[in-house]
């Protein structure tokens, strides 16, 4: 199947000299939910902005439904809806006017019935005559979603949709995303929370320092990201491991005072009980123990090193 979005060798260096994207290649499948995971400043927003036509790329190309986003911008942009990260809205327009404006801007005939339903779905209809400046932050985010959906796009970009959003709106938003997904809309969202990607996405791309480190099925990636480490602090440092502990693939710290065991929390067994028994049987006595999970940052660094 032809990907709905194909990104080839895409790079972007801003006038300031900052390289925001470096040689990104990515295929996005029609109808999937793709989460782009990465820390702040990773290049997620730049990537989205290039696909949507807000920022010009330095090199490389993007096609949407087989059409180049620069040459055939009218076609490609008409398929895309974008919910930006910042709450960028005018102040004095009414909700109803601003969604009508968005729909017209994307070349669609007026359709009050569709927009009315859209505002109802987003619990905005009773606010339709309110001025935008009167709305709360959460309501403004809903308006931005309504604007992005006003022209019935086939592809929806959500740039950090849950930043500063309360639990209820987050729940509503995921429900909406699932509904759109069911109706065949391709959804690309950026986030820096693993849990969010886990909850909603089919595939996850990890992006850091302008590089796309990997794109994988969510399940595969979660297994990778779900690893934890158990550090066993010994009373007496050891030079080498007793043979009975060999099956556990332990690492010894440089001073020999710590044994590190890596296990998977998503697996059926972690093997911790057996390990502790084996440690006991080998005659090693423990001073302390602690577990740690790699933070997202650490995983990024690790991935970056592995790819370099």
């Amino acid at each position: 199947m032809q990907p709905i979005i194909k990104i080839s060798d895409l790079s972007k260096t801003y006038e300031s000299g900052h390289q925001a994207l470096s040689n990104v290649n990515l295929d996005i499948n029609d109808g999937e939910i793709l989460a782009l995971l990465g820390p702040n400043g990773a290049g997620k927003t730049t990537l989205i902005s290039i696909i949507c036509g807000i920022v010009a790329s330095s090199t490389g190309s993007v096609t949407v439904a087989g059409h180049d986003t620069v040459k055939d911008y009218r076609f490609t942009r008409s398929l895309i809806g974008l919910v930006p990260q910042e709450l960028t809205l005018g102040a004095f327009d009414s909700v109803w006017n601003t969604v009508n404006f968005s729909r017209g801007l994307f070349g669609k005939e007026p359709n009050p019935a569709y927009l009315e339903q859209l505002l109802k779905d987003l619990s905005l209809f009773d606010k339709k005559d309110s001025e935008l400046r009167e709305l709360s932050g959460g309501m403004k985010r809903r308006v931005l979603i309504a604007k992005a959906l006003s022209h019935e796009p086939r592809i929806l970009f959500l740039d950090e949709p849950t930043a500063g959003v309360d639990v209820e709106l987050r729940k509503d938003m995921w429900q909406l995303v699932r509904g759109l997904h069911k109706s065949g809309v391709t959804i690309i969202l950026t986030t820096h929370y693993i849990e969010e990607a886990e909850e909603i996405a089919d595939r996850v791309g990890v992006i850091s320092a302008g590089k796309l480190l990997l794109v994988d099925n969510k399940d595969n990636l979660m297994r990778e990201l779900g690893k934890k480490q158990l550090a066993l602090e010994l009373k007496q440092p050891v030079d080498q491991l007793p043979e009975s502990l060999a099956p556990y693939n332990l690492e010894i710290s440089a001073d020999g005072a710590q044994l590190i065991y890596t296990y998977n929390t998503t697996g059926e067994r972690t093997g911790i009980t057996a390990l502790l028994q084996a440690v006991n049987a080998a005659g090693l006595s423990l001073k302390d123990l602690n577990t740690s999970q790699s933070s997202l940052e650490e995983i990024f660094v690790k991935l970056l090193k592995a790819k370099a």
Binding site: G53, Y73, G90, R103, G104, L105, G107, K108
Partner: protein
């Protein structure tokens, strides 16, 4: 052509104008009236006729141009600067529209507003003095061309400006002096010869002179030259806007 986009940009830009209708109309009417009281009656009564036209009447075209130029620039520059400032420009940038359609929408709305203002000022002027327009069609042509070219110029300023100071800079430091020194309130022939030559480098002179000719058939420079100058200015502004969009100047970087 994305007609829907042009329609909504134009409509929502005009909406702002209608929402503040009282301000939009009251301010030019009041300022025009003040000019008439000060220049037309108080000072004008002591000034003899210029080229056979009484001073109060003579200043009408200059007065209209003064408002037209400043309002066109203010409307158009603010119209595009404000979405840039608030960030809502992202939507226009990501929409399936060409630079030409964006310009028609924003500049068309700004020019329409100026045109309405110009007409209101003319009507106000008619209350103070007896106006006879010798060439109404030419008068309209000059009025419309000026509205469009200076709205385009304002649009350029709005794209260029990165803060509110810059937005005010050119209207304050360049346009207002040029309008005052372009013969709004006097005939160039009243200046010493050396200054007459300097004035010929002021583009606004050609606008006011041509516009005044369409009223009274008196002009500082020939009408053909006036017309050529304003069309040249219009094309120059179009070329700059086109270049700005083509290179993504301060928009896509």
């Amino acid at each position: 052509m994305n007609y829907q986009a042009i329609r909504v940009i134009y409509k929502f830009e005009m909406l702002r104008f209608w929402n503040t209708l009282m301000q939009s109309i009251a301010s030019p009417v009041i300022s025009t009236s003040l000019y008439f009281v000060v220049f037309g009656s108080a000072i004008g009564s002591r000034i003899q006729e210029i080229d056979g036209v009484s001073y109060g009447v003579f200043i009408v075209p200059g007065l209209v141009m003064l408002s037209l130029l400043t309002q066109s620039i203010a409307n158009a520059s603010f119209g595009i600067f404000f979405p840039k400032f608030t960030g809502t420009i992202y939507e226009v940038m990501s929409a399936p529209i060409s630079f030409f359609e964006i310009v028609i929408g924003y500049v068309g709305a700004a020019a329409s507003k100026s045109f309405i203002l110009g007409s209101i000022i003319l009507i106000t002027a008619n209350l103070f003095v007896d106006l006879n327009i010798a060439h109404p069609v030419w008068m309209m042509a000059f009025l419309i061309l000026t509205c469009i070219s200076f709205s385009l110029f304002g649009f350029i300023i709005g794209l260029w400006a990165t803060n509110f100071e810059k937005l005010q800079l050119i209207p304050m430091l360049v346009v207002t002096p040029l309008v005052f020194l372009g013969g709004s309130f006097y005939s160039v022939s009243m200046l010493p010869p050396a200054w007459q030559t300097v004035t010929l480098f002021n583009p606004v002179l050609y606008l006011i002179s041509g516009f005044r000719w369409s009223f009274f058939e008196v002009a500082d420079v020939s009408v053909g030259v006036s017309l050529a100058m304003i069309i040249f200015f219009l094309l120059a502004c179009l070329a700059i806007v086109w270049w700005m969009f083509k290179t993504g100047y301060r928009l896509r970087n």
